[in-house]
């Protein structure tokens, strides 16, 4: 996966991008950051058979889409704010519109809809890479500037708001 524009980003976005790619759970699931462009984050995940919801179908477990939305949403906070500070997911709501087929990669497209000093409102769409069918939508609220050690990126949890 090429990353054509990482060097052009603000330091905050570059650091958050790198952090997101180092998250152990994201690496386990094979999440990749495809692009961060004008506040819009795109991430990609290639399904594997252990991610399925049942043995006899190739449907990806909804929880894999959930993890992808959480990670993309966290990075979108930094893409919107252009500033590094600890963040914490307050809540996340997923709507699963269609079953996600295991033979297609997943794409997550996340944007920051509104930003205040304390809160970021994030929307994320999960699409099938091949036909661009909308599989799921997510709305998340992140608390900004939570108390934490240095910098926590990528939708990590910190003690409440």
């Amino acid at each position: 996966m090429t990353k054509p524009n990482r060097a052009q980003h603000s330091n905050a976005v570059t650091t958050a991008w790198q952090f997101t790619e180092q998250v152990p759970h994201g690496r386990e699931l094979g999440m990749q950051v495809v692009s961060v462009d004008q506040g819009q984050v795109c991430m990609r995940l290639t399904p594997q058979s252990w991610m399925f919801a049942q043995e006899d179908t190739k449907e990806i477990c909804t929880s894999v889409l959930y993890s992808l939305a959480d990670s993309a949403g966290g990075l979108a906070v930094f893409a919107g704010a252009l500033e590094l500070m600890p963040i914490a997911t307050l809540d996340l709501r997923m709507d699963y519109l269609r079953p996600a087929s295991g033979d297609q990669a997943l794409l997550a497209v996340a944007t920051c809809r509104h930003l205040t000093d304390e809160v970021a409102f994030i929307h994320c769409d999960i699409l099938s890479e091949g036909n661009r069918e909308l599989l799921a939508t997510a709305n998340a609220t992140f608390m900004r500037n939570t108390q934490g050690q240095q910098f926590q990126a990528g939708g990590r949890k910190k003690e409440g708001a």
């Binding site: 919801a53 894999v64 959480d70 809540d91 409440g160």
Partner: protein, 163 residues
């Protein structure tokens, strides 16, 4: 377990939790992703629990360290799915329609437990409330509501997109 609604299935009490936990374990083991996460059913004071063992691959923030929010999402969704399925007379495989999860406290890199309350078990849908904790049960780290669709019997296999 608690329930509301007059079309609900009978609910198992604590005396039946031995059988119930065996059923839950069997249902969980049919889910490849649940096996991958190492989810295991335990009997607790208040009924059946799902235990998520901690491992390095579940970490979302290695500086704290803390579990990834998506891991708690998975624990809640999969616990809800098994709770809804075990309450169904035909143990139909439910489809998760939506989930809404609130994060209440920091999720540390340690064992996490989940407990399900079936808010309503209907003929077509099930609404399940799941609470997660680590050390103290009275200090939940996350709670979520999951809405599930129970497929029509004849259409269960073929009509996966039927909505």
């Amino acid at each position: 377990m608690s329930t509301t609604g007059d079309s609900a299935q009978p609910i198992s009490g604590p005396t039946e939790s031995g059988k119930e936990s065996a059923d839950w374990q069997a249902l969980l083991e049919r889910i490849p992703y649940a096996r991958h996460l190492g989810l295991e059913v335990q009997r607790g004071d208040a009924g059946v629990l799902v235990h998520l063992p901690c491992c390095e691959a579940l970490i979302g923030n290695f500086m704290l360290p803390a579990l990834h929010g998506g891991v708690l999402g998975a624990l809640i969704e999969l616990t809800a799915r098994v709770a809804a399925q075990s309450q169904d007379a035909e143990t139909r495989c439910p489809r998760i329609l939506d989930s809404h999860i609130n994060y209440l406290r920091s999720a540390k890199a340690r064992s996490t437990f989940a407990r399900a309350d079936v808010v309503r078990q209907g003929r077509r849908t099930s609404l399940v409330q799941v609470t997660c904790w680590q050390g103290e049960k009275s200090k939940p780290i996350a709670s979520g509501q999951v809405q599930l669709l129970l497929p029509a019997m004849v259409a269960q296999q073929e009509d996966r997109h039927g909505h």
